[in-house]
C-alpha cells in the first residue's frame, strides 16, 4: 500500500541549517549534511533542502552543500531556493539532487517548468507555492493567492489555478506552503491543502504549521495531502520522523514502518 510521506525540511543559509518563525528569529540548527543524514536515519522518507541564502556568492556554497548532503543520503533528495534557470537546475542535479523545487522563478517564467521537466523528467520537478488565504474574497480558500518574497508580495495568481498550470506544464509534485500557518505550530491549512489536492492529479506536499502528531493526521485525512513537510518539529530533538510515524500508524495512517 502506498504510504504517506514524512519529509524533513532543512532551511539552509550560507551552508548552515537555520530555522525561524515566519522568517524572523533565525537560529543556527547545524550542518546540513549531518542533519540530513540524521533525519534519514531517524526515519524521514525524503529530505528537502531549501536554500534561503540571499547573496550571489552563496551559489557555490549551495552546490558544495548539496554535494556533501547527497553523498550521505539514499532516500529521495529535493533541493530548492535560487533555481532560476534550467542551467541552475542542471548544476544542482549534477551535485546529487533527485528533484528541484522552483518557486518565484517559475512564476516569472512558467516555461522553466517545461524546460526542467523536458531535460530531467517530470518526477524531478517540484513546484513550490507559497499561499495565503484571501480574507476579502467570497471564498478565501478557493481564491487563496500565491505570494512571493517570503510571503510579503502577492504574485497576482490564484493558488488553485497556478497549481493546475504547473501540472499541465509537467510538474511532478506540488509543495504547498501556507504562509498563514508557517512556523506557528498551530496545524496545517487543511482546507487549502484539500482544495489544491483535489484540483490536480499529481501529489501534493503540505507544508507550514506542523506542531503536533494530530496536525499530521489531519492533513493526511481532511487535507488529502500525499506527503507532509516538517522542519521545526524535527529540530532540537522535539521528535523524530520514526516516532511521528509510529504515532501516525496508531491513528490509522499508512506510513513506511519499520524505517
Amino acid at each position: 500500500m502506498i504510504t504517506k510521506r514524512i519529509i524533513a525540511c532543512l532551511d539552509v543559509r550560507d551552508g548552515r541549517v537555520v530555522k525561524g518563525v515566519q522568517f524572523v528569529d533565525i537560529v543556527d540548527a547545524g550542518d546540513p549534511a549531518t542533519q540530513a543524514a540524521r533525519h534519514a536515519r531517524d526515519g524521514a522518507d525524503e529530505i528537502v533542502l531549501l536554500d534561503i541564502t540571499a547573496t550571489h556568492e552563496g551559489r557555490s556554497t549551495l552546490l558544495d552543500t548539496v554535494r556533501r548532503t547527497a553523498a550521505v543520503l539514499f532516500v529521495p533528495f529535493c533541493v530548492g531556493g535560487g533555481i532560476r534557470s534550467a542551467g541552475d537546475a542542471a548544476q544542482v542535479f549534477e551535485a546529487g539532487a533527485d528533484k528541484v523545487s522552483v518557486n518565484s522563478a517559475a512564476l516569472k517564467d512558467p516555461m522553466l517548468i517545461d524546460a526542467i521537466g523536458h531535460s530531467f523528467g517530470a518526477q524531478a520537478v517540484v513546484v513550490a507555492i507559497d499561499a495565503r488565504r484571501d480574507p476579502e474574497a467570497a471564498d478565501p480558500v478557493r481564491d487563496a493567492q500565491v505570494f512571493v518574497q517570503g510571503g510579503r508580495k502577492p504574485a497576482g495568481r490564484r493558488v488553485v489555478e497556478w497549481a493546475r498550470e504547473a501540472e499541465a506544464r509537467g510538474a511532478g509534485e506540488i509543495l504547498l506552503t501556507s504562509m498563514d500557518s508557517d512556523g506557528m505550530r498551530m496545524g496545517f491549512d487543511c482546507e487549502l491543502t484539500a482544495a489544491v489536492s483535489e484540483s490536480v492529479g499529481i501529489p501534493v506536499i503540505a507544508s507550514g504549521g506542523a506542531g503536533t502528531v494530530e496536525h499530521f493526521v489531519d492533513v493526511f485525512g481532511r487535507g488529502k495531502a500525499d506527503a507532509a513537510l516538517a522542519a521545526s518539529i524535527f529540530h532540537f530533538g522535539v521528535s523524530s520522523a520514526r516516532s511521528l510515524k509510529e504515532e501516525l500508524a496508531k491513528a490509522g495512517v499508512s506510513v513506511r514502518l519499520p524505517c
Binding site: 500500500m1 502506498i2 504510504t3 504517506k4 510521506r5 534519514a40 522518507d45 547527497a70 553523498a71 539514499f74 532516500v75 529521495p76 533528495f77 542535479f93 549534477e94 551535485a95 546529487g96 533527485d98 531535460s119 530531467f120 523528467g121 517530470a122 518526477q123 524531478a124 511532478g172 509534485e173 492529479g201 499529481i202 501529489p203 500525499d226 506527503a227 513506511r256 524505517c259
Partner: protein
C-alpha cells in the same frame, strides 16, 4: 567489481553511481562507447523520464551491444524506465520498441481516483524466490515514481499494488529489473543493489 552504467541522456545518473559505489562497485559510464559494453562485467541501465528516450540506445548501437552482452551471460539490471525497456515496448511511446527480452507490453495505470504518477514508498509482495531480492522480507518498502508499469507474469519476482498489481521486480536468469529506485530506497535498496553486485552465474547457466 566493475559496473558499466549506460547513459542515454534521460536524466541524472549521480544517485545510481553513488549507490553502486557505496555497495563496493567501481563504476564506468558509457553513452555510446560500445567497447565498454563488450567488455562489461555487469551492466546497469538506469532511467527516469520518457520511454521515447530509449531510442538513443538504438541509434548509438547500444541496444545490439547490450543484447549480445546479455546473451554472453553478463548480469544486467534495468531500473524504472530501464526495466520497462526490457519488455517489448510501452504505450508511452508506441513507435519505440523495447529490447523484447520479456514479451509483454508496459502500459499506463488505469483511470481511477488515485493520483498518477505513483510517487512514494510502497511495499513489496514477494512472488517467488529471486536472487535480486534475496534477504528482502515481504512488506519491505521501496521508492517509486512512475506512470507506466509492467504486467505481472511468470518472471515477476515481486509485485506492488497501486490501482492494480504490477511488476515491481522482474528476474529471469542474468536479466533483472526493478520498477522502483533501489538507489533511493534506503537500506532495502542498497541490499538489492548488493545482491545484483554479488550475482554469479550458476553452473547450469
Amino acid at each position: 567489481m566493475r559496473v558499466t552504467v549506460i547513459d542515454y541522456k534521460a536524466g541524472n545518473l549521480t544517485s545510481v553511481l553513488k549507490a553502486l559505489r557505496r555497495c563496493g562497485a567501481e563504476t564506468e559510464v558509457t553513452d555510446g562507447d560500445l567497447s565498454l559494453v563488450e567488455s562489461a562485467e555487469r551492466i546497469v541501465l538506469p532511467g527516469v523520464g520518457h520511454f521515447a528516450a530509449t531510442e538513443r540506445l538504438d541509434t548509438t548501437g547500444l541496444t545490439s551491444a547490450i543484447r549480445a552482452a546479455i546473451a554472453r551471460g553478463v548480469p544486467f539490471l534495468g531500473i524504472c524506465v530501464g526495466m520497462q525497456w526490457l519488455y517489448a515496448g510501452s504505450s508511452e511511446a508506441p513507435k519505440q520498441p523495447g529490447l523484447g527480452h520479456f514479451a509483454e507490453q508496459c502500459t499506463h495505470f488505469a483511470e481511477s481516483q488515485e493520483k498518477v504518477p505513483h510517487v512514494g514508498w510502497n511495499s513489496l509482495e514477494i512472488r517467488q524466490s529471486s536472487r535480486l531480492l534475496s534477504g528482502v522480507e515481504p512488506g519491505e518498502y521501496v521508492y517509486f515514481t512512475h506512470s507506466y508499469k509492467a504486467p505481472v507474469t511468470a518472471d515477476t519476482a515481486a509485485i506492488t499494488r497501486y490501482i492494480e498489481p504490477f511488476a515491481a521486480a522482474v528476474e529471469r536468469g542474468n536479466v533483472m529489473g526493478t520498477q522502483f529506485h533501489p538507489e533511493k530506497s534506503g537500506a532495502t535498496g542498497l541490499k538489492i543493489l548488493g545482491n545484483f553486485l554479488s550475482w554469479q552465474a550458476k553452473g547450469n547457466e
